[in-house]
């Protein structure tokens, strides 16, 4: 179950001038003036000078031993269902439809449940308010935030 875990532990949200709520984005490209991203409604872009602040959200994941237990439960459930169903093998077409539906529904339910579990933990939030900064500086900060290569490191002094 922990194969798909929390897809990306970091999420980005931006607040543009004139808006009251942050919106979630997946940055795709940045130029000196425009930030391109995938939003809720697909591909979109925004002028950098319009961005007031950016929030980086990091989720605290569930503990690894718990993930291990969930993984074991997930696969045990699969084999339990398989063994129970194979008692009736070979399947007729209606029986096969039943097997297909049970596996699909249980699998989907497990995926949703797992998502709920990993998203239930507390979230750490880092906010950069750069509404008053010049365009050049905004661009530099944004680029560093969204590029965020694995070699990049952020040292924080609270």
């Amino acid at each position: 179950m922990f194969l798909w875990g929390d897809a990306f532990p970091q999420e980005y949200e931006i607040l543009s001038s004139g808006e009251q709520n942050y919106r979630q984005i997946v940055p795709t490209n940045i130029t000196k003036e425009i930030l391109y991203f995938n939003g809720r409604n697909g591909a979109d872009s925004i002028q950098i000078k319009q961005i007031g602040s950016i929030r980086i959200l990091t989720r605290n994941d569930i503990p690894t031993p718990l993930k291990g237990i969930l993984a074991a439960a997930y696969f045990s459930m699969f084999f339990y269902m398989l063994e129970a169903m194979y008692e009736y093998a070979p399947f007729t077409i209606p029986q096969f439809s039943g097997v297909f539906s049970v596996l699909c529904l249980t699998g989907a339910g497990a995926g949703i449940l797992y998502g709920k579990l990993i998203k239930s933990g507390p979230r750490v939030q880092i906010c950069y308010d750069f509404s008053a900064k010049p365009l050049n500086e905004k661009y530099t900060i944004l680029k560093q935030i969204i590029t965020n290569s694995p070699q990049s490191m952020i040292l924080q002094t609270p």
Binding site: T28, D61, T64, L82, V99, A108, S152
Partner: protein, 286 residues
């Protein structure tokens, strides 16, 4: 000591999750995207093996399959002996066999779909679509080869390494499937495809590859012990699953343009953690 090493290994695998950034852009796949992509995948696959880059792979598969066919009966006996020695019950082998029969793929894919739809996660949805795509594409080629080669499965074998009836009567094939459908293994190709898709799309989970390939190995041994397949049925099955998964993954995502392209830089700027906390962030990008 052995137990400690195994425990450390497993813990290491489980702890192997890093905070990875999304280097690829995943768009939401359509309901039937995986079916629409299959013909194109077949065309890509037919071009791939005969390129200079893949010549070594093709040669290795051919030689290993040939050698395995020669020693099939001995290797089958060795596997059964090993199973007895390890105390694997028939039920354990049956479970290992069913790792690759498609039900596990359906179950895992349903979970990815459930998660992806519920939480609007395109990577999960793309992974599900790619698993379906590669399993069906590889499965089509597997079935085609099975219907041409007509090799007996071990549990109905009439010769030590199973009789081959090339271009069998298709009516006989469907009446007595195990007498014709051993070569190559569709089970192996489907579990291989799933492992490759997941490991490619979730590279930050370092345990997927070792755990996945362990599942492939268990599936292979399980099928030999239950008499469903010979060991020589596997190399082509593995190659098909691997290749179609790679093709599906390549089609299902786009590399992010900005990723990893910055020049080395260092910057220092203020950080507002909350209303009462203030700090300084030093960012070093190499």
């Amino acid at each position: 000591m052995k137990k400690i090493l195994i425990t450390c290994g497993i813990t290491g695998l489980l702890m192997g999750e890093i905070i990875a950034q999304q280097d690829y852009i995943y768009t939401r796949p359509g309901l039937f995207t995986f079916i629409k992509n299959i013909p194109g995948d077949m065309v890509d696959y037919s071009r791939n093996p005969f390129t200079k880059k893949n010549l070594w792979g093709l040669t290795a598969i051919s030689i290993s399959t040939g050698l395995m066919i020669y020693y099939d009966d001995k290797l089958l006996n060795a596997s059964k002996k090993m199973s007895d020695k390890l105390g694997l019950s028939h039920q354990a082998n049956w479970k290992m066999e069913h790792i690759g029969d498609g039900y596990l793929q359906l179950y895992v894919t349903s979970s990815l779909i459930g998660y992806g739809l519920w939480y609007n996660d395109n990577r999960a949805l793309q992974s599900a679509s790619q698993i379906f795509e590669s399993v069906f594409a590889a499965g089509t080629i597997v079935q085609l080869i099975k219907h041409i080669t007509g090799r007996e499965s071990p549990f109905v074998a009439t010769t030590p390494t199973g009789r081959w009836r090339f271009f069998p009567n298709q009516i006989d094939y469907h009446r007595r499937v195990p007498e014709f459908d051993a070569f190559p293994s569709g089970h192996i190709s489907s579990i291989m495809a799933m492992v490759v898709v997941l490991s490619e799309n979730y590279p930050e989970y370092s345990f997927i590859k070792p755990l996945g390939y362990l599942a492939v190995g268990l599936n292979a041994i399980g099928m030999m012990n239950t008499g469903v397949h010979w060991i020589s049925d596997y190399p082509i099955g593995v190659a098909l699953g691997y290749s179609f998964a790679k093709i599906a993954v390549k089609k299902g995502r786009t590399k992010k343009e900005t990723a990893m392209k910055t020049s080395p830089s260092i910057s220092i700027y203020p950080l507002f953690l909350s209303r009462d906390n203030f700090g300084v962030t030093v960012n070093l990008t190499l």
